[in-house]
């Protein structure tokens, strides 16, 4: 059970690619204000200018620099996705632990909630809510966190149930360990890898959904995101501007989703001994 996940990730070709790609995204997001050649909100050139030396991707319909928009979009995307994943994983952990530890009524309520939430079409709820509230970044994070916790909670719950049966936990209990001690020292550390996989999956879903909502124009228009860029660029598809205005954000969204998918896939294979590569070498 005790595997060095970091080594597993680095040893896997997909995992390495995922690490480099997400690392690059993180650098762009953090350094956006240094990397961007212009202020993405400033009107720096005539609208719809084609690419030039000072504006490598041209300008949009109000004269803002598209490359700078793209760079700042990375920041928004990662901020929304990573915070949603963090909060929703926390919710999954708390509710899953509560259900697994206390059983009885708590368990019934949490599991029923999970079952119901799993059949609710998540995107539709997000669309409906966002259409009214037009959330900014914090609102979106709250919304996504509330929508994305159920699968993780169920995984945590079932893992807690099986961990509780294991020898070392029984031993610790018989040595007089309290519930809180067991949770802190034995349960949570063993749950980290599963939570990591869940975290990556939520990131991926959040990137997709944030881009989708913005693409439909259900987003605070003052925020720079790839989805909104696509939303506006779509009206100018037939002018030739799509080459520098539409393709870059489209590629950026795909790049982000793929990089997290690679990372998630590699993590999953590190976790699941049946998927681990060297086991299959002779197969």
């Amino acid at each position: 059970m005790h595997v060095n996940y970091w080594d597993e990730l680095k040893g896997d070709r997909m995992g390495r690619a995922g690490l480099y790609m997400t690392g690059a995204l993180a650098v762009v997001a953090l350094g956006a204000s240094w990397l961007a050649p212009h202020d993405p909100w400033a009107y720096v050139a005539p609208p719809l200018s084609p690419p030039s030396w000072s504006h490598p991707l041209g300008t949009n319909e109000v004269g803002q620099d598209i490359l700078s928009e793209l760079i700042y979009g990375t920041r928004t995307t990662l901020l929304v996705a990573v915070s949603s994943a963090l909060f929703s994983s926390l919710l999954s952990l708390l509710l899953g632990l509560a259900a697994g530890l206390f059983r009885g009524k708590v368990e019934r309520v949490v599991l029923r909630l999970v079952d119901v939430m799993l059949v609710v079409p998540v995107l539709l709820v997000a669309l409906l809510t966002a259409a009214y509230l037009r959330p900014g970044i914090p609102g979106l994070v709250v919304l996504f966190s509330l929508l994305f916790w159920p699968p993780g909670a169920r995984i945590v719950w079932s893992q807690v149930l099986s961990l509780k049966q294991q020898g070392h936990l029984t031993a610790a209990r018989h040595f007089g360990a309290g519930t809180w001690y067991l949770v802190r020292r034995h349960l949570v550390p063993e749950l980290y890898p599963l939570l990591a996989v869940n975290f990556i999956q939520v990131v991926r879903r959040a990137v997709f959904m944030e881009a989708g909502l913005a693409f439909l124009g259900i987003f605070d228009p003052s925020i720079k995101t790839w989805g909104l860029m696509l939303h506006y660029a779509r009206d100018f598809v037939f002018t030739g501007a799509w080459k520098w205005w539409l393709l870059p954000p489209a590629a950026a969204v795909s790049f982000t989703i793929i990089s997290f998918a690679l990372l998630g896939y590699a993590l999953e294979s590190a976790l699941d001994p049946r998927l681990r590569r060297h086991v299959h070498a002779g197969n």
Binding site: R108, L111, R112, D115, V116, M117, V119, V120, P121, V122, L123, L124, V125, L127, L128, T129, A131, Y132, L133, F208, A211, G212, F215, L216, G217, I218, L230, R234, V237, F238, W242, L246, A250, V253, S254, F255, I257, I258, A261, L262, Y265, H280, N283
Partner: protein
């Protein structure tokens, strides 16, 4: 099974409550939040008629009762943008959505199964690895991005297909000519949706096949000297299919989500496009109606898949019984 049914009913109730509560959470009177811009052109009589008919000036509890009562009578409100009852506007869009969703479901399932079997059978070899990478890359491209790209290249550049809509207007075509026209319009949106769902179905089928590939019954079939193709598709697939069918059925939410975006990209006249139009014009009764109908579609579809999977696999029936006994 009653427990599952209850889940679905609760899910529906959540959506209905959300549909009901959101406009009423907004600042101002609910009628402003619901009818928005249209209020400006309304006469006081129309306004008071609406207030009375939908009980908008009464306490929240009573409003909810009126809302539910109206829903059960199929009254979804009146659309001031389309100048027609919402129920009527929506029922015109539903067939297009079902056509698009059905076509892509059919193709993506079939192609996903074949692709998954062919790749899984050659596990670890070149074709399998190339397939995995392709599926992963394809999986990373959101439907609306893929749709825009296909629209640009196949529709705009090569001009092989129409750019938008579900059929050519004003031609007055009949019979075969009209059917061909509809199919031509259907092609790009359906292709996009098929490609969006394909990687998922492929991965499901592949991993399910890997689970049965080494089973004794498959080896027996091989040992009998049956041809490879027969072993693969008559024996192995039969064992590997049930979980795939179930998972595909359970992913109705994803299917309809995909339909939503693809319709917006191609201005395909279904519910997603209608929703988009209504949203842009702040026609909230129509927005609600679209979302409600899609939700009902998704829930029905999931429920059917749930029932079907239990029928299909006796082991699940046993599981369901145990689960019921436990809780």
């Amino acid at each position: 099974m009653n427990k599952r049914l209850l889940d679905y009913l609760l899910a529906l109730l959540i959506i209905l409550t959300l549909n009901f509560m959101l406009p009423r959470l907004m600042p101002g009177e609910p009628i402003t939040a619901i009818y928005g811009d249209a209020l400006v052109e309304m006469t006081p009589e129309m306004k008071s008629h609406l207030l009375e008919r939908y009980g908008l000036d009464r306490p929240l509890g009573e409003q909810f009762a009126v809302y539910m009562g109206n829903l059960f009578q199929g009254d979804l409100g009146y659309s001031y943008y389309f100048r027609a009852p919402v129920a009527q506007v929506i029922s015109g869009a539903l067939p297009w959505t079902l056509l698009l969703a059905g076509t892509s479901l059919l193709f993506s399932t079939f192609l996903g199964i074949v692709w998954g079997v062919e790749a899984g059978w050659r596990r670890g070899r070149k074709f399998d690895r190339a397939s995995l990478v392709t599926a992963m890359l394809l999986n990373g491209v959101p439907g609306f991005v893929l749709g825009i790209l296909l629209l640009l290249f196949l529709g705009f550049y090569l001009q092989w297909f129409p750019l938008s809509g579900g059929a050519s207007p004003y031609l007055g075509q009949e019979g075969i000519a009209r059917a061909a026209d509809i199919l031509r319009h259907l092609f790009l949106p359906a292709l996009t949706l098929t490609l969006v769902q394909l990687p998922r179905n492929f991965l499901l089928m592949r991993s399910s096949l890997l689970g049965v590939k080494e089973r004794p019954y498959v080896m027996t079939a091989r040992g009998k000297g049956l041809r490879e193709r027969v072993v693969r598709y008559r024996h192995a697939v039969r064992g590997a299919l049930p979980p795939v069918v179930t998972r595909v059925g359970m992913s109705a939410g994803l299917l309809f989500t995909g339909v939503f975006f693809v319709e917006v990209v191609f201005a395909y006249p279904g519910l997603g496009h209608l929703f988009y139009l209504a949203l842009q014009h702040h026609d909230y009764p129509t927005v609600h109606g679209c979302l409600l109908l899609i939700t009902v579609c998704v829930l029905l579809f999931n429920f059917a898949a749930d029932l079907f999977s239990i029928k299909l696999d006796p082991r699940l029936r046993e599981n369901a019984r145990q689960l019921l006994g436990r809780t």
